[in-house]
Symmetry: C2
Subunit: 726 residues, 2 copies
């Protein structure tokens, strides 16, 4: 029938969205290394003057081709790889992107361009470049050895065993395009080094491909700036600089560690409640194709931005062609130069690749399905990220729907209920200090929740009294710096087809004569809909009033009751803009101007950011603002919603050792709004209905086994329903 | 030691907050029935001209007395009951409240007064009065029998078996103080009758204590108004009224029922994931005293408003003296007179008493602790509400904290994680059609989440074309009417003592010369704190910009790092005001003007609403606005935060058969903000740390058993940590 054909086509199309296989990656590498003009060499060779593959990942097919496979069962378009190559061994070094196809046996490659050329200085960092940074830090710290040793009570960057220093670097790497100079923070290398700054920051200019030509441009120590390490050292020795003497590091000070301490009145040395599946899983995972309840979707994890869902359907009806993470930023304030400079734009840190192993029982329940991911970045071989993605069903511990139908006389007409279970798709990106938990939650009733929770270490800098304007002291000499997290998602809704329109709903207060009591007045709100006909009118700014409902619908498809079939986006966010519009780095994150913006779908507008934004936010190669600048008509078109969520984070003592997830989750819901004719969770056989039978004995009507199973309870479900006088 | 003494005193004080026992209720009743002047009779006798007990519940002691018990271990003040008596058998009928004490052997009663007298017409409805309403409806429907029978295809109010009509009544009961006239909606009495309006509404004036004198004031049928049933019937017969002929009721039409229908690709006829406690519970419930992780608190369920938490402590430190549900309203719009009139104010419908039995595995997990509640309202005996409250610990399926500490070379320094489990305290109020799920969630890290989820049946009215301005058609002839849910909570925070101050935090953009690159500028936000020194300045209005952080702190208590110990309230809400300020019924819900208002604590300002507001919202006996009108100083005082949350609900087809919880939950978080010196969840022994050991074998450090147990998994926890080239 139609339903099973629909299901088969979705399944048939899923491989279009599957990440590159190890085999494909190796084939692409071999193919490109055989292109003589490119003169590709190993990514790991210790020089910056080389041509090598920086990044390789799936290149998504054009939407109309993919839809032919998904909606008509046609052959899938051939698979393609996007490859980023750094040509350092050229007269004019450059970064060039190629599309390589077809996979798994490449025959051709063609250049993929952006509106602007990719500046070479905007490329992401590689291990090779970090290794040269480390060598420079060795020189710097050797010069300042005595100062560092005295300041830290015996820590050094080199020749150390358990008293080592390490570093953190911040972005962007300069003050304008074409620069590549980085503020670096020195830290004690202990467990949780992110929150052990020692009060020494250094600005290294590493723009030259010959690391010998790199220079130290500034040094910051104890609130003073110096033009060179030598100047600092001289002034330190001559007493022109106040010496900082940090407390000795105590190996028994658990401050930055996870080691338990303190007391609790109730036991925590036993396991808490756990999830079990007494009757087995109720979802299917077939490679990157997942089915649960009425849902089906494909997923992948882009190396740059992270998790993406494609061809999301409910009961075979597509809800969204794509829902994908685009970017995450954290813009900081502070009193030290590194703190003032820190504007992390995480796709440039390969947020997608930074999806490391998930721990069963902590990161995902023990019963989860764990999946390996494979990435190819700054490497000569594909890298396996074991158990980096998980899928599981969980109970939320409450009802999806329930009603107790009292008879108001101590009895009841019926009780009905359905437990709220949800399928979760999860990865966690550890972008250096922070850990972002990326969740997609699929509810039985056609609702999708997209959510990010923040945990991991705060980005901290050395405490100064002036720093208190920008955060809180969280330890001796440590300031937790205030910052705003903003996350951007692409949501290519296709509601009952590709042709959609968009409206916002608000209330308008009415005042009219009471029809049953003339002389009196009825004051009540009525629905006020605004159809947004152009991209500009559908780009909502932060700081302006946001509509009560934002509604995407197919103007030509009605549900059974005559309403336009639609979905709405509901925000759960405390986001706000981070910089004045157009101010320098803000140009790189023009998407962050809008909690919601709606555009016409374009294959070439497939992301709102790029891996180059971090190191050139001033003149970004991908600028979201361009997508709405032409102010296209968005009536009855293929629309894409772009959603920004986030929150202000003022660190506080309870962020030590790590930011905790409760209260630190934001996201959005996609909710059916007259899309179905009734709640589609009605198809669930997990429903329980109880009615008073003869002699008021409860008659339980159910479609699942009476007994859950011995691990949960051997007792059958019981319900009384009566409330009795005593 | 101090910690255990603190714990003992909290435990010692808990009975002060325990609801009345059956024994106490019976004693109070006997005592009052023995007071000859009162001439009390049975609540169930079939007359309105009687004196009888309407409501009896615990009367909370004054705070300073309770604190003597809680903080010094002094004897608990004697228990008292609040009793509401309706004196219908008087020359001037009245409602009088008494405080009866001491329990369990009452000796005295004294009148408890409000600022205004309680108008007799504002009393809640009783079964007796409903029985007279039913008798009147029998007369009305008999007169209109033919019309109703023809309209509904064979349904009638009397002499029916499986083709019966029933009714819903709406509030308020009139247009101004002193009125008691109610719009009543007729419905088909089938499973889920709330969404079966038949298009017949009638306004009955039932102000007289002699039901013989009650009158029909208006009738509404098919968009027309009539002054009497007779007028309608005459015009119906004469053809002056267009006849509605509803489709016949099909017993196989499951529309308003929970009966499953439709198909799902994945199995739902087996049980989904369930919670188990493989090593037993980690919390204690001793009557109304609960302990979990560092938390302890007492709870009760007020008969009028519902769930309340008292003496909430973490590691012995009180965080809040009281967090209590105050009121829930739903204000509707519509085209029929009942819809236009509907402004439900649920304390007047005994929202607290309407906490019926919770179903294990649906309303709360099977492993929950279920507790009976007892109430005394409109009864001659206490009523037991079996399993009406539950307490359970659950896993959220993810981490509270976690960090993967990459070494950026395919390995890791360490992995640390702590599973996020939470204790949930829950009741569910079924206020007629709606079911509100009231949750308190206690996280291991000192965070409390207070949350309400909405489910149950929508309040619907008969569909008219004009009704589409006020909602959506959800079935033949049925309109789901738009409405706003607003919920009010009292949050008596006592942060590190009773003397607290309140500030809001915002960001202020700075612009100054770049200290390391003169000629360039740093633009970054800094913290901007506003101390709110008076009640007016701390009363935030809907529609105005709300601060980023709202912070309650003790100005004289610092944490280890010198910051004022504090907690902040973080909102998760889409609330907005429902009516223009001061417009009629809005006076009864003046609390709803403010997402947050902060007042000085007063024992006599213990609630923001009353059971009388529903039937007299125009001149309410409790008006929240009075609490802030004197604009007291709130610096270093005992403060109370009053929190309004809610959302606009525009019904849609997916609200059939019931509103579902996903996306329909709002609430707030209480989050420590420099209250502790570090994250207090560090005391949890459920932490897991993994470090690469010799030969890079993972070394797992944990304080819980290695194996969870056979129901979850027999495999020990495993982690690799490496990401390897392949
Ligand atoms: Ca455009
Ligand atoms: Ca679209
Ligand atoms: Ca006051
Ligand atoms: Ca207080
Ligand atoms: Cu943060
Ligand atoms: Cu509602």
């Amino acid at each position: 029938g139609g339903a099973s054909r629909t299901r088969d086509w979705a399944h048939h199309g899923a491989p279009m969205f599957a990440d590159l296989t190890v085999h494909e990656m190796k084939a692409v590498r071999s193919y490109l290394h055989a292109v003589e003009d490119m003169r590709l060499t190993s990514a790991s060779s210790e020089t910056l003057k080389k041509n090598s593959i920086l990044l390789m990942e799936l290149h998504i097919p054009k939407k109309h081709k993919a839809l032919n496979a998904l909606d008509r069962g046609w052959a899938r378009p051939s698979r393609q790889a996007r490859v980023v190559i750094q040509f350092g061994d050229q007269t004019k070094p450059n970064i060039t992107e190629y599309i390589v196809s077809p996979l798994p046996t490449p025959q051709s490659h063609e250049v993929r361009t952006y509106k602007k050329p990719i500046t070479f200085e905007s490329r992401p960092m590689t291990l090779t470049e970090y290794n040269f940074i480390i060598k420079h830090l060795e020189i710097i710290t050797t010069k300042a050895h005595k100062l560092l040793f005295e300041t830290t009570g015996g820590f050094s960057f080199t020749n150390c065993t358990n008293r080592c220093l390490t570093f953190a670097d911040v972005g962007p790497r300069g003050l304008g395009p074409g620069e590549r100079r980085t503020w670096i923070i020195l830290q004690r290398f202990v467990e949780g080094f992110f929150i052990h700054p020692i009060g020494f920051e250094v600005l290294i200019n590493h723009i030259d491909l010959d690391p010998e030509k790199w220079t130290v441009e500034k040094v910051w120590y104890n609130s003073m700036y110096f033009n060179s390490v030598e100047e600092l050292v001289d002034k330190y020795e001559s007493g022109e600089v106040e010496k900082v003497k940090l407390p000795d590091h105590d190996d028994n000070d658990f401050y930055s560690t996870y080691i338990p301490r303190g007391h609790s009145n109730t036991p925590t040395n036993i396991h808490g409640p756990k999830l079990v599946e007494p009757q087995g899983p109720r979802y299917h995972v077939d490679n990157n194709f997942v089915e649960y309840s009425g849902w089906s979707f494909s997923y992948r994890v882009s190396s740059s931005a992270g998790i993406q869902v494609f061809d999301l359907r409910f009961n075979g009806d597509r809800i969204a062609y794509e829902i994908s993470l685009q970017e995450a930023i954290a813009f900081y304030s502070g009193d030290t130069p590194a703190a003032m400079q820190t504007k992390y734009i995480d796709a440039g840190w390969m947020m997608g690749i930074s999806s490391f192993e998930l721990a069963p029982g902590i990161d995902c329940p023990e019963i989860a399905t764990f999946v390996d991911l494979h990435h190819y970045f700054d490497t000569d071989k594909p890298v396996r990220y074991k158990n980096a993605l998980c899928v599981f069903e969980m109970t939320t511990g409450g009802p999806l729907r329930r009603h107790f139908d009292s008879d108001f006389h101590g009895g009841y007409n019926f009780y009905g209920g359905l437990e709220n279970t949800v399928l979760v798709l999860r990865t966690i990106s550890t972008v250096y200090n922070y850990d972002y938990i990326w969740d997609f939650l699929f509810y039985q009733n056609g609702v999708v929740e997209v959510k990010v929770s923040a945990t991991g270490y705060i980005h901290s800098t050395f405490y100064t009294p002036n720093g208190l304007h920008y955060g809180a002291k969280v330890y001796d000499y440590v300031l937790g710096n205030l910052h705003t997290h903003l996350i951007h998602y692409k949501v290519d809704l296709d509601i009952a087809g590709q042709e959609n329109s968009f409206e916002s709903l608000n209330l308008k207060m009415m005042n009219f004569t009471n029809p049953w009591s003339p002389g009196d007045f009825i004051v009540q709100p009525k629905l006020h809909s605004t159809e947004h006909k152009t991209e500009r009118s559908a780009a909502f700014r932060f700081g302006k009033k946001f509509p009560k409902y934002t509604h995407f619908y197919n103007p030509n498809k009605k549900n059974k009751w005559g309403h336009k079939r639609g979905y709405r986006i509901q925000f759960n966010s405390h986001a706000d803009s981070v910089l004045p519009r157009g101010w320098r780095e803000e140009n790189g994150i023009s998407w962050s101007r809008y909690p919601l913006a709606v555009t016409r779908h374009k294959d070439h507008e497939h992301t709102s950011s790029s891996i180059y934004t971090q190191n050139n936010p001033w003149e970004p190669v991908v600028s979201f603002e361009d997508y709405i600048r032409n102010n296209e008509d968005i009536v009855n078109q293929d629309l894409v919603a772009w959603v920004t969520v986030g929150f202000l984070h003022v660190p506080h003592s309870e962020d030590i050792p790590n930011t905790a997830t409760p209260g630190n989750a934001v996201g959005f819901f996609l909710r059916p709004f007259n899309f179905f004719d009734e709640d589609p969770s009605l198809s669930s056989r997990s429903t329980v209905i109880v009615r008073p039978g003869e002699d008021n004995q409860p008659q339980v009507q159910r479609w699942t086994p009476e007994v859950v199973g011995h691990c949960v309870t051997d007792k059958p479900f019981s319900y009384d329903g009566f409330y009795r006088k005593v």
